[in-house]
Symmetry: D2
Subunit: 313 residues, 4 copies
Amino acid sequence: MDDRQAQLDALLATPTTPTRRPTVPALEEALYRVHPVLDHGFVRVIDYMGDDAAIVQAARVSYGVGTRSVNDDRGLIRYLMRHRHTTPFEMNEIKLHIKLPIFIARQWIRHRTANVNEYSARYSILDREFYLPSPEHLAVQSSTNRQGRGDHLTPAQAAHVLHLLRRDATATYDTYQHLLNEDAAGNAADPDRPMLARELARMNLTLNTYTQWYWKIDLHNLLHFLSLRIDAHAQYEIRAYAQVMADLTRAWVPLAWEAFEDYRLGGATLSRHELDILQRALAGEPVDALIANSRLSAREKRELREKLKLPPT
Amino acid sequence: MDDRQAQLDALLATPTTPTRRPTVPALEEALYRVHPVLDHGFVRVIDYMGDDAAIVQAARVSYGVGTRSVNDDRGLIRYLMRHRHTTPFEMNEIKLHIKLPIFIARQWIRHRTANVNEYSARYSILDREFYLPSPEHLAVQSSTNRQGRGDHLTPAQAAHVLHLLRRDATATYDTYQHLLNEDAAGNAADPDRPMLARELARMNLTLNTYTQWYWKIDLHNLLHFLSLRIDAHAQYEIRAYAQVMADLTRAWVPLAWEAFEDYRLGGATLSRHELDILQRALAGEPVDALIANSRLSAREKRELREKLKLPPT
Amino acid sequence: MDDRQAQLDALLATPTTPTRRPTVPALEEALYRVHPVLDHGFVRVIDYMGDDAAIVQAARVSYGVGTRSVNDDRGLIRYLMRHRHTTPFEMNEIKLHIKLPIFIARQWIRHRTANVNEYSARYSILDREFYLPSPEHLAVQSSTNRQGRGDHLTPAQAAHVLHLLRRDATATYDTYQHLLNEDAAGNAADPDRPMLARELARMNLTLNTYTQWYWKIDLHNLLHFLSLRIDAHAQYEIRAYAQVMADLTRAWVPLAWEAFEDYRLGGATLSRHELDILQRALAGEPVDALIANSRLSAREKRELREKLKLPPT
Amino acid sequence: MDDRQAQLDALLATPTTPTRRPTVPALEEALYRVHPVLDHGFVRVIDYMGDDAAIVQAARVSYGVGTRSVNDDRGLIRYLMRHRHTTPFEMNEIKLHIKLPIFIARQWIRHRTANVNEYSARYSILDREFYLPSPEHLAVQSSTNRQGRGDHLTPAQAAHVLHLLRRDATATYDTYQHLLNEDAAGNAADPDRPMLARELARMNLTLNTYTQWYWKIDLHNLLHFLSLRIDAHAQYEIRAYAQVMADLTRAWVPLAWEAFEDYRLGGATLSRHELDILQRALAGEPVDALIANSRLSAREKRELREKLKLPPT
């Protein structure tokens, strides 16, 4: 993959060209640069289309002369976000180059609204690079959440786990190379053995092997991705990518990002029963009793108290 | 809509800014400019992402070091087009501003892979602009093709049709304005009559009224759209837009366009039976008899002769 | 269109066949029957795939043996709805036959996640059927909401509006027929005049002309459609369809519908600032002052009071 | 996963219920049954919507009374397939339960038009099942095709490769179980060691581990999937699934399948230059010289001769 690195480094060195398209200086600054994630992964911006003003411009096409009164970009963007008028946000697009472990790629690809070009292990040979968590990210299975992590491992426990992960990834990659039997010139390293087809040899790799792809998505769907993947319930490893992408998104469309934080990330959803409890609490009934006596499940009661910053009972 | 025109004219006048993103001088030149279509319609490019080299770059991510041998951009693009490796073409994106009659917008919107922001007649008032065909595009219902046009009208017949279309569009628009009852300041033009809700009044407009939208699509889906809408079987009015968009696409990605013409637009598809006929004809059997005696339908026989430039029988 | 009516009536009369697929007796009962909407429109169920148990079954594939503890279908469906685990709801599908005015079809088609087969006015001739609102649905443009309706018209005003709508729709349809110039046998009604191509003649019709289509969608996207179109801000005419479809959906998947009402339709979303106000109000600060002194816009303040059933200030 | 097996076996045993929906006896017969693929994989039909007649019915909605002349279902389906009128085929839907190796699941999921519920290794524990190719499917990297297989291995070579694949998959699964440290009751097998979170432990598995999912897709997109994955250039392992799905599709919609074979699978595409060569060959010029002197690439020349069944030069 060194050739591609060299190619992209060349892009960083090329002089700028003039354009009449919308340009975001803060994102131009980030363009092509590697933003590291996990131990070998990265995110980098390859291209983008549009800025905050482009969202506004698209919305004004829809609303035409009828929107004279909303004459402020920030106000209009907040209005659109609040009322879930999503199409103007679809008018911006970003293209990222991402390197990530395969088991995270498998979660990621479930978002079907993006365009993807992934490194093909049918055509090419994957590098000897696999994800090993930092010791502080190793944890036991959560006892309360079937898909989460519980207590952290002790240093000794973590060292043991990392030893096993490194040992197996190394051993399976060694076998992969043995099966490929290919030297630097593309010939058989050992002429007495076959060079197994790449599409077959790859099946021996572990799921923490790194892959990479170009991933292109519109701003609306990017924000949806981030709302799910920044969330505390998302697996740590994909959250680490989402956090870097959030910073890049803020640099790209600061007004849209602010609205997204106010109306989506920092907000909350209430069910019909939760709303009923709140209405009655504000009308004077004691909130603790209302929750305790409600038909909410035990888990819903706990989560509602957290949402409302009520002390645990 | 004059405000938006002024806004966009301002864009044409703004100085350029520097970017390190891929830039296509020929498309920069076309940016924001009106390309007229039909009597009141237009296409204009609002933004674009990527160029021919960006297609190649995305493909090389997929193929990695394994593609060293394909060292030529044009060759790789032709390879991708020929083998229908479509994802690298999805990595380019274009955003257009289009003004078009509603009955054409209804055909157009069936392509679901684009992002759209349409002028809303719930919010705003549509202009008094409706499509009237040029006399040479008026034709009778085809007797051989249930969805096509046959012989052209005589000048007198065309004048009569255009008189009726103009009369009805004018009359229904007059009623629309009467129902809206809104003066330039947004107040009731006639204070004794109600100002009917815009979302209701619009139902009185005819289908040749013009609407407009921002339409954003990736290059792969744009080419698919053009392959269907440039086709001789497409309705003339949408073909007129497709032709203008084809010219813009050629300016944007000349190598991809050339490959598209060679492998898609200018090519042909053969069925299993057609292929069998050809194989036998090249092996020495008389092609006329092969076609005549085949199990193809009469229409398939005629179309095969046309594809092969054989004289009609 | 009488032929198709006869065809479908035949379906109603056919005997049942046995199947091992999931079957919903309540929806079987509704199958093929016309559910009238507006003056000439309808919704009818043509086919469906899955039931409440199919949602659960799909979820259990995802969660495997790890979900033994959630042993109750209703509980699992509520859990999925509450946590927006949307993919199990995508596993159910419904196919509807809908007849609706063109200006509503234009709103409807913006939902891109459905499959559609619309009656083609390039191929065929549209019936003389156009939507005329009931007098009680005629209203003036809202002064507070740019896309809504305000006060109702008086009976005299309504009668005038309906007179104009009927007059124009009738006149333009007469012209349409004159241009088509086609008799019942498909020949020229007036042999001295041309039979204008259908794809051209249709442009003279008004937007309240009825069209029809088959529309197929999965349950997740259907619920999303309904959440937007049942909403009080949706145009009345599309809301009328959504209401009929809601009843059919309740008959089809009663547990999913109940969860949808509790967690989506009957719930509410709070922004970061609204949530902060609530937390402080429940901690003892006076809610009226908190709202009044907040940085919410006037409109947000009013809407928050409504959400919380606080009396207007 | 035994519970789910038992659940589905129960479905096989349940009595049928009556329905007025379209029913396909041949597919009812296949319903819920396991169709084995590879060493541990399978395909089974969970549900379906529509039949050949449903395609016709949807098409007739589009074409209305204008299609009286096409009164034959088979003829109409062939017409639709030939002219790529794809929307009527989208009106049929099928839901499959598929068990497949992860590296094949990664290829498969790139088809974005389906609904998917995959077994989650965050929630649940994957079985000790991994794909080991049959000896006859082991082959060296192709020297002519960067993504394909060349010569087969000798029995001794194959045995060596399978030994390595089995050894590594077994060893990494052993580590996986060691890290999970979970006994049959869900408690720690070794109380002195931590039970590593499932979402972490899974990263140690190899890519030939089996996963499973529910996969729901419409007929048009299924045929597109099959056209790509039945192809000789597709990886053998995914082709094995495609072949089983092709048989099921033929049982489900025999008329659509026949048309698909005639117009898509068994047909061919010609480029502009290839078409020109053919036209001139049929007009009397010698085809060998035309091809040899054309501007086609060496590979295109070879492939054209194959398409036309001309002997190699």
